[in-house]
Symmetry: D2
Subunit: 259 residues, 4 copies
């Protein structure tokens, strides 16, 4: 098995300067630990808890930033899409299209994403069992695209809480597709702050370690220089200065796991 | 409080003749029990468990059937929409647009639906707490449309199972909007049959009775003349000949509850 | 089916005078609504959330009170037992022994209770499926005692929360034994107040109505003249003055349901 | 932090010869990997799913075997107790008394166990949140005994299923007490086989690795030479010949984690 790659970035793109600043620090942490780096940024938060949550920069500006990061840092970039007509446009710039968890059973979206020929990272819906993702992957396969990744990001566990069931990683891996663990959204408390999601970022390192020890192809970790003031998912993001030591530990565990 | 209304029909529209046959029997059962009747039919099952599940007749044919039922039976009709661009077209025919549970936080869809000025029935996501629906309603309200209904249809409870939390009905009613109980999808076992959802239709009557006794503005019950051979949700649909006795009991409970 | 009976009393016995005062008011409410009355009181709360919670009056004093209520009001009395050696002593006074939910799979306790020949009300563990209760009943049956009642009191749903799955009532009834719905503990939030359980007594009436509409042989409702200052389960108890109107509504629903 | 210790043995004691055979193989695997070894065996399965499940050898015979293993192998031994009057007798032989998950809030049992002065391993109830265990520990502390271990063994997740929430390990560790991960019962499917618990032993290694990577003081792993024919928990036990390679991997992960 290959060493895990890191999908990282801010939750929400804020500006080119901001994306560049974060990408530089993430790239350094990845280089120092020998970790493959994929830059993640969203330009349209289409399902915020409430209307008051910031939507983002929009597709035009967002894709411009992602294109710039890709060309400046030479790393693949990933973003999420929400309706069928978003796929082709995003695919002109990004390397990986991400299907949000709530939308992971929307047939048309999966097909439109698959038809771009790009890699597709599908987040497992909070309402699905790990074994149900084989049906999701089959929808994409029907387009001839088998460049698929399946991502665990937490499962509904009572109200306003998610639990990470680590049995899901080997279960989803039985499809033959690489499995990603999203350590950021797994610690979310959806709706936990009334008008926005809460979370507990202190749980990101232990859950990321667990995922690596169970075995995964990639980790997804959102990061920010000032999470408490980030426009979205602040409670769950890892402060950027903590990323490199976390990666170093994860890399050492991954080496043991995959040896 | 007004007596409950019934939203009923097949899960999936099959043909005009089939819709007419069911509508006639439902209308009879409603007339016999003094129940308001809203005809429900889907023409596009956009999130089947697997690609092999039947999608439906498509918008053109489906809306034609819904229009015909509406005009022949004089009842309001309801159908579900999945992407923003579906809303305006459906709104030309139907009286109520339904937002599927998986999509209940998609801001653009809620806004597009709200902007049609039609009534909107939003199903609570299986991943949401009842109190989180106030944020969902607020998104629609922002369009100036307050003709909103909130619908309980089961909450994630472990894998491949839903549970109906009847505390959710009074909780959602605190928004001031009418609350619907979907007795059909509440008994679903999502993904329970591997490539399709399972369910247990024997539980529809007890859960419908519970909902009426707790208090609700409408019941949603899918029905079919041959559920075991229906193109979707067969395990959960009530055989049409059982509808009238069920309604009679529900009506009697509703009378007691609201007296 | 027979009309539902009511199992009611304070959660915890406080004194003979207090028990008598409550029993009198409950008996009045039952008489006014034609409801069979079983007096419930605990004298030993053996599994409080924390050590600081009041344990109760103890077996000697508690059984004396239960005996007095039984003889003064002519109603059956019920109490809970926690270890094998409690059963015989309690059985000298009470008509029904109750097995707490946490203990519903303790073989020795079930056998010791069964061997007293008294009726046994077993609460379904928060960790059990309704169909698992057939195995529990079979343990008691092995003593030759088939005077068994099975009681729903909420199922674990995430942390510090219970959900009432009303499908459990008909499922448990398939054993042939009468099914009780505990409307008090079903609205508990275990550990929800840190050192003690929280709850939401406003949900007792809707859930009790749901249980009656689904169909049950008895309701279990704890009540108090001043719930907020009761020694245990205050957040979940119904104020005594609200009992009679609640019973009247429940009785009317039960009549419709069982007609 | 100290390296993790291993609590291992058959679920149920079968005979002295059998216990000796397993203890020898476990001791070898522990010695080869530098792992501290605590022998576990139950002589009274007091809460089997059904009456047909084997109860065990009983206290007299069971304690004799545990005493023999302790003296022959020089390892500490642990067993579970179910009623207050079992504690003192077991404490004459064993080093650690284990409180079963269903019983973790039974005040009298916790106090009786605490009063023996022995170490106490309390399994977190499937119905409790990790933070609720501080109240459980405090009950034992009240006896002056602070030799306490807290053990995660799965949390109720829908019916007949458990999920391991690895956030629970650091949460329980905030008490200051060592945290044990029970990799055997965490993969149980309670009641999953109708009359007995099911499970999936293939998930023991990934969950054990996750626990070590998150950080824990001890692992609990039941093992058998022929799990499919073991008298209890066969579906969850690791075949004895797989123990040493599993331990080797876990030890390497633990070294990285605690360095």
């Amino acid at each position: 098995d290959l060493p895990f790659a890191l999908i990282a970035g801010p939750c929400q793109l804020e500006s080119l300067d901001h994306a560049r600043m974060l990408a530089e620090k993430i790239a350094e942490a990845c280089a120092a630990t020998g970790t493959g780096f994929i830059f993640k940024g969203s330009y349209d938060k289409a399902n915020r808890s409430s209307l008051g949550g910031k939507r983002g920069l929009g597709a035009e500006k967002g894709l411009e930033i992602l294109g710039a990061i890709k060309s400046e840092f030479g790393c693949p970039v990933i973003t999420d899409v929400h309706e069928t007509h978003h796929c082709a446009m995003a695919a002109e710039v990004v390397d990986i299209l991400q299907i949000p968890a709530f939308l992971c059973r929307q047939t048309d979206l999966l097909l439109a994403a698959g038809e771009t020929g790009k890699a597709i990272n599908v987040k497992k819906g909070q309402f699905l069992a790990p074994w149900d993702m084989a049906n999701v992957a089959a929808k994409i396969e029907s387009t001839g695209n088998t460049n698929i990744m399946l991502c665990e990001r937490g499962t509904s566990f009572g109200y306003n809480t998610l639990v990470s069931d680590f049995r899901g990683l080997p279960t989803m891996a039985e499809t033959g597709y690489p499995v990603v663990f999203d350590a950021t959204h797994s610690v979310q408390q959806p709706g936990g702050n009334g008008n926005s999601s809460g979370g507990d970022r202190r749980m990101v390192p232990p859950l990321a370690r667990a995922a690596v020890a169970v075995g995964c192809a990639a980790l997804f970790i959102e990061t920010h220089e000032d999470p408490d003031n980030a426009p979205s998912d602040g409670p769950n993001m890892v402060p950027i200065e903590q990323l490199q030591p976390l990666l170093a530990k994860l890399r050492a565990l991954d080496n043991v796991m995959k040896s």
